[in-house]
């Protein structure tokens, strides 16, 4: 009897513990001898020059510096996370998790947003609490869950002590001086350069490709019958300006997260098919669940947007065929060039 118990105890202890070891090592930042081009081509169709642009003039040198900063784990207090940990190129610069893990594995209160065409944003974050990209990019660094480097002087001292930044600051600004403003501007230049304009949708607009019948049907449902475009409008499938860029889509009857007065930012739907899970709390892990919500899951929240009040109280009653068509259309918004372009990749 005792033997059994001892054996039991031992096997319990062994089996109950899952151990995992992982070593992350890499060579220095691998940068091309001729800089990649990050400067926008004004003819790229997806921009509306917004407020933050007044503060940032993207140059290839600044964006190159920004790219290294974006992927450098030294920007967190314990060298564990970089912006790239939660904004991964292969996932449309989202991170594939409902909630992200910060520098000490604590969860962020909201789902990581997939970054794309920030030039078409009037405000940043799910609740729009940041208005200027150059200010926004420093917030994750000092955030106590995300990167934990609360002391900006320590940030400067750390970056200053890393040898490869000497040349990068020199090239971007003419001398090697490290300042908070330069870090912010470089990061904003890189983030602002993450532009999508070569999806199938764009190619069809430009007349060089054609939608399939199913995609065409999906587009029609999106723009007309279900009028998704009344919120996810324009070439960025978001709502660009002011308060109307935020809305409540009846996820819950009572809000668990205040957002911006009970509303959340209408997310850009470019690359949406690679950036699951969805919504500000990452509650839906598939696009089908999102459509089921719009179709029959609406809750009568006091702030529910008027554009959704025109349907049945529970939703739009989207048929299975229509769901298929909508999904086919959403697939045309994936920008494979952006997801694989080496100029946005992790240089380490």
């Amino acid at each position: 009897m005792k033997k059994i118990l001892v054996l039991l105890g031992a096997s319990l202890a062994l089996v109950a513990c899952k151990e995992q070891e992982e070593t992350i090592r890499s060579a220095g930042p691998q940068l091309p001898s001729k800089l990649y081009s990050y400067v926008w081509n004004r003819s790229q169709p997806t921009f509306t020059g917004n407020s933050w642009l007044r503060n940032v003039r993207i140059t290839d040198e600044k964006a190159t510096l920004g790219r290294v900063l974006f992927y450098d784990k030294a920007l967190s207090v314990n060298n564990v996370t970089s912006c790239g940990s939660c904004h991964m190129q292969s996932k449309g610069f989202g991170d594939g998790k409902a909630l992200s893990e910060g520098f000490l594995f604590n969860e962020t209160p909201r789902h990581s947003m997939h970054i794309v065409n920030t030039g078409a944003n009037s405000r940043f974050f799910w609740d729009g609490r940041s208005v200027i990209l150059k200010d926004q990019v420093l917030l994750p660094i000092s955030n106590h869950i995300e990167m934990g480097l609360e002391d900006e002087n320590l940030l400067i001292a750390k970056v200053d002590a890393i040898d490869y930044y000497d040349d990068l600051f020199e090239e971007a600004y003419g001398n090697g001086l490290v300042t908070k403003e330069r870090i912010a501007e470089a990061l904003a230049s890189f983030v602002g350069s993450i532009v999508s304009y070569n999806t199938k949708f764009d190619q069809v607009e430009r007349g060089v490709d054609r939608f399939t019948a199913l995609e065409e049907k999906g587009k029609d449902l999106f723009n007309n019958k279900y009028n998704c475009a009344s919120c996810h409008g324009g070439k960025n499938f978001n709502a660009e300006w002011g308060e109307t860029a935020f809305s409540n889509i009846g996820l819950d009857a009572e809000d668990t997260d205040e957002g911006l007065n009970g509303r959340f930012k209408v997310p850009n739907l470019r690359n949406v098919m690679v950036s699951a899970p969805y919504m500000h709390d990452g509650r839906f892990s598939t696009i089908e669940e999102v459509l089921n919500h719009y179709s029959s899951g609406l809750k009568q929240n006091a702030n529910l947007d008027w554009r959704l009040r025109q349907f049945d109280p529970t939703g739009m009653n989207i048929s299975p065929d229509e769901k298929e068509a909508l999904i086919a259309f959403l697939h045309t918004l994936t920008d494979y060039d952006l997801l694989s372009d080496p100029k946005y990749s992790d240089p380490f």
């Binding site: 089996v15 109950a16 151990e19 995992q20 001292a157 892990s285 669940e289």
Partner: protein
Amino acid sequence: MKIILSSILSILVCSFSYGQTSNKVRHELGVNASGFASNYLNFSGVVQSNNPYSITYKSLRSKGGLRVGLGGTYIKRDIHPPNQFSSDVVNGTLDFRIGYEWHNLLNDHWSFFYGLDGVIKNVRSEATSRTRLFNGRELVDIDVWSVARREGFGAQAVTGLQWNIKPRISLNTEARVLFVYTEIETGTEFRNVPQEVRDFNPGVDFDAKLNTDFERTLNFLVPLDIYVVFKLNKT
């Protein structure tokens, strides 16, 4: 806190004294098979595991008995970027429950059980990082230690269903209402910072920063996990 500890104690006392009345003891060992099962079954979109106990043990008499569960994870990461700003990260969780359960046979193959547990739920992430800073002449290594620790105590009420496939093998799953009181400690501490580095970086605040916080949570957990139960002796 006191209430929780005393309730754990009373559950234990109750379980042992109850145990005296019958002499046939059945030992059951359960293994959480959800991870294994999810390789073959795909419940799309459903969180596939919410029961942290990898292994459970029950010592049951005719009406009920003692139940114990244990689970944990341990991840060690060794981050060495090229810039000498390294970090050794350890992330561990420990989940333990002990309690008493009653069970009823519904028919030859199915039984139903319910019970109460005392619960310990700990999470700990710690990083020992090396950062280099100037002292005016050269780069000096300083150690930055950061921690996030969650120590939770609580209690849960469970109810479950067991399918007795073979005399020695069963499957079961349980739903729980779990209350946990957690003490959360987070912080950063700079170690061995030479005076020269402090002098050269007067703006940097090298004081240790540690915060303590408390959290109370009440969760209803649906029965998502499947345990394969081995009966160690015949009854």
